[in-house]
């Protein structure tokens, strides 16, 4: 179903994932019936409440926390906004630390808070592999630091941050740690207890649930002011009628992750490495971004020297779906802030594409995509040579 017909070979699982058919099946009864409001006391309401409770417990089991530590949100971005603004508001401001490679849903929030004069902000850099240095983070802590927010895994290059170590060292100093785990959940084991973090964001559509749902783990006892106020939904932490359908989807997706992750990680690594070796064979000087070992098993961010990533992807058009390592804004190509922070040369960054495999990727697709990409790269080079 996933790549039938004219659909491209989909290697963009870090952008979004298809809804797993099992997730869709779990959601279907709530799409066509059982439409009660979980806050209603009548039969349909109670049915809805039970389904919501079940979904929440599935999310909690996946993360290794208690259901009442899970706040359902409309997505990963809302979870990040709620975590950061919520902690800052509860503490009445202070000093916040984040990394230079955070997702915009973290970076824009801390920058806005700094602009609003509510916090002082320290942004710590990363090494050539995109990793923060725990000593540098700890060295940036101040007596008035209220929050450190460092992502668990980077969306562009897949580098996994030393979050467990950071959490332990922050906790010694009584500082809360939030991690954006949007890219990690479903790809690597994420257990909040083992990580020792205080707040963690989840995005449904990165783990085969639909777009429009996410979750925020808030360790019991951590004070967070709500971002969205109103009636007492989510134990007063997030107002708005719960999206039962979305919650059921997220719950089912989390249950699948919990059951299948161990095998999946290995399979993804195999596919990703196969893709890398196929490309390496055809592109001299190919450079892989991200940490050699501490990296998501599915993510391959590669510079294809001589290629222009945007044009390459445009030509691949409807055959291979992947993302460039740079963003096009109003016809100006902008090197990604992640690659910049890693010190990647602009020319290399502009030749970078991100390939991310996932649950429905097959070996055949990987081989096919590699072939298509190599053909285009060869064509680009020939073209460039001709122009000269």
């Amino acid at each position: 179903m996933i790549t039938a017909g004219g659909d491209p070979i989909y290697l963009d699982y870090n952008a979004t994932t298809p809804v797993d058919p099992r997730v869709a099946d779990a959601m279907l009864p709530y799409l066509t019936g059982c439409y009660g409001n979980p806050s209603s006391s009548h039969r349909l309401g109670r049915q809805a409440r039970q389904a919501l409770d079940h979904a929440r417990s599935q999310v909690a089991s996946c993360l290794g926390c208690d259901p009442d530590e899970v706040v359902l949100t409309s997505g990963g971005s809302e979870a990040n906004n709620a975590a950061i603004r919520g902690v800052v508001a509860a503490r009445g401001g202070g000093h916040v630390i984040c990394s230079a490679v955070e997702h915009p849903a973290v970076l824009e929030v801390v920058l806005a808070l700094e602009c609003e004069g509510r916090i002082e902000l320290s942004i710590v850099g990363v090494d050539q592999w995109g990793r923060v240095d725990p000593d540098e983070v700890v060295g940036s802590l101040r007596p008035d630091t209220v929050l450190v927010t460092i992502m668990l895994a980077n969306n562009e290059v897949g580098t996994v941050q030393p979050v467990a170590e950071l959490a332990a060292r922050c906790r010694e100093r009584g500082v809360l740690l939030h991690t954006d785990a949007a890219q990690a959940v479903g790809k690597i084991p994420v257990a909040v207890g083992r990580l020792g973090i205080d707040l963690l964001s989840v995005a449904g559509h990165k783990l085969y649930a639909p777009k429009g749902v996410g979750a925020l783990y808030v360790r019991r006892g951590v004070a967070v002011e709500p971002l969205i106020r109103g009636a007492g939904h989510e134990r007063g932490r997030r107002a708005g009628t719960e999206s039962l359908l979305m919650a059921v989807g997220l719950g089912a997706a989390c249950a699948i992750v919990r059951a299948e992750l161990a095998d999946e990680t290995e399979r993804l690594t195999g596919l990703r490495d196969r893709l890398e070796s196929r490309l390496r064979a055809g592109v001299p000087g190919l450079a892989v971004h991200g940490h050699p070992t501490e990296r998501l098993p599915n993510t391959l961010s590669v510079a294809l020297p001589g290629a222009h990533a945007h044009r390459l992807l445009e030509r691949l058009g409807d055959r291979v779906a992947a993302s460039p390592g740079s963003a096009c804004h109003a016809d100006k190509v902008q090197v990604s802030h992640v690659l910049s922070a890693m010190g990647v040369e602009p020319a290399l960054a502009l030749s970078t594409i991100r390939l991310s495999v996932g649950r429905f990727t097959t070996g055949g697709e990987v081989d096919g995509a590699a072939e298509l990409i190599l053909a285009e790269v060869a064509g680009t080079r020939a073209g460039a040579g001709f122009q000269r």
Binding site: T16, L31, S77, S243
Partner: protein
């Protein structure tokens, strides 16, 4: 047992046509609308089309004035916190005492943050006094936020008129309305009668789209900061990957509501009127909350003196009838609703309120069933009530004297 669902102001069933429209985006068309490859143009185009449809149905406003959110609560939070953050030179806000908690509690939070908020009172029918409103307007008034129709009683507020007065007094005043209960049910013309409104919130799940999608109309030029940051989506006014399926579902649901409105509204109102008439005729000491005020045609809120709403709902539920006491969002709490308190519903009735709210899917047979069952439920509960003289089958004299005493004001 079949369920008779008369709680459509709490939430509605998803229309089958809406399900059909959404399905491709929950299965094959899963691409991120922000991606650059061809396949992603499907979801991106679907969002664009949905935005256009909704803009047209709100009275031919500009598509970029429609902002998608996760629910009306988020829309309300965005509208209120956003305008307050973007207009720091003004510190006064006017709202009503009967707003949904998604506005009421946000306004309370503004008070805690040092703004001045006027909560306009309502009379016993739930109506605002326009003179109160005009008197409340001040040179430093930043925002007027008044709901279009009350979720509990269905009472309609003259928001168009209030917006006009506010703008004529001072064009700098921003006017917001929570229209969650009216969009779909009533025509809204933001280029015509409602042209003075700057912001309008609504939600999908009150109009047969799913829970988890809402929208905020934001007139061009309105100074309002985003609530959710972190992406270029919605022109930078709301970060987060778009919920493509539900956005498409919202547009389809609004189309259906508009197509069916001319046929549905008179039919639904006739059913509601018949229910109201029959219950009033059959049950002594029953009052209609909001009677005498212009009201939504689908809503009937009755107060049964001397008994408790929760007991009534429990009995109704055992007959498969879904209704509510006050609003779903505050149910489970034994506190009487702030709306009924503001209306000074008598002490003997404030706990005995039941709301029936009808929809396109409601039938005459369902209404008949309620007319048949409801009076006996009330009679049975009254026999157990300490305020009721079971032998004489009438209220005790001391209870009668309490009937006129209004509920204590909301603390």
């Amino acid at each position: 047992m079949d369920v008779i669902y008369l709680d459509n102001n709490a939430t509605t069933r998803v229309a089958p046509e809406v399900v059909d429209t959404m399905m491709p985006f929950l299965t094959s068309d899963y691409f991120n609308p922000s991606s650059m490859y061809d396949a992603a143009s499907g979801p991106a185009a679907a969002i664009k089309q949905a935005r256009r449809t909704i803009a047209r149905l709100l009275g031919k406003v500009r598509p970029d004035e429609v902002l998608f959110t996760s629910c009306a609560t988020e829309s309300n939070n965005t509208a209120i916190f956003g305008t307050v953050a973007a207009n720091s030179e003004r510190r006064h806000v006017i709202t009503s005492a009967v707003e949904h908690p998604a506005v009421y509690n946000v306004a309370k939070e503004l008070e805690r943050r040092g703004l001045e908020v006027d909560f306009l009172p309502v009379d016993r029918s739930g109506r605002l006094d326009m003179a109160d409103f005009v008197r409340a307007l001040r040179p430093d008034t930043l925002l007027v936020s008044v709901m279009h129709a009350n979720n509990e009683t269905g009472v309609l507020f003259p928001v168009e008129e209030m917006a006009r007065i506010a703008k004529e007094t001072d064009p700098g005043i921003i006017v917001h309305s929570d229209a969650t209960q009216t969009v779909g049910k009533l025509p809204i013309d933001l280029s015509g009668t409602s042209r003075h409104l700057d912001l309008l919130s609504f939600s999908g799940h009150k109009l047969h789209a799913p829970k988890g999608i809402g929208a905020l109309f934001m007139r061009r030029g309105t100074r309002c900061r985003p609530l959710l940051l972190g992406g270029h989506q919605e022109d930078g006014r709301r970060g987060g990957t778009e919920n493509v399926a539900f956005i498409v579902g919202l547009a389809r649901a609004m189309e259906l509501m508009a197509e069916r409105r001319d046929a549905d509204e008179p039919r639904i109102q006739a059913m509601r009127d018949r229910l109201e008439r029959e219950l009033v005729a059959r049950i002594p000491f029953l009052q209609v909350n909001g009677a005498g005020a212009p009201r939504l045609g689908n809503t009937l809120n009755v107060a049964c003196h001397f008994i408790e709403g929760e007991g009534i709902l429990y009995q109704l539920s055992s007959h498969g009838i879904c209704a509510s006491s006050g609003s779903a969002c505050t149910s489970g709490s034994l506190e009487p609703s702030h709306v009924l308190r503001a209306m000074k519903i008598p002490f003997t009735a404030i706990h005995g309120s039941v709301r029936f709210s009808l929809s396109h899917y409601s039938t005459d047979a369902e209404v008949d069933r309620v007319i048949e069952i409801f009076p006996s439920i009330v009679a049975n509960l009254r026999r157990l009530s300490p305020y009721w003289d079971a032998a004489a089958n009438r209220p005790r004299p001391e209870a009668m004297s309490m009937m006129d005493s209004a509920a204590a004001p909301h603390s």
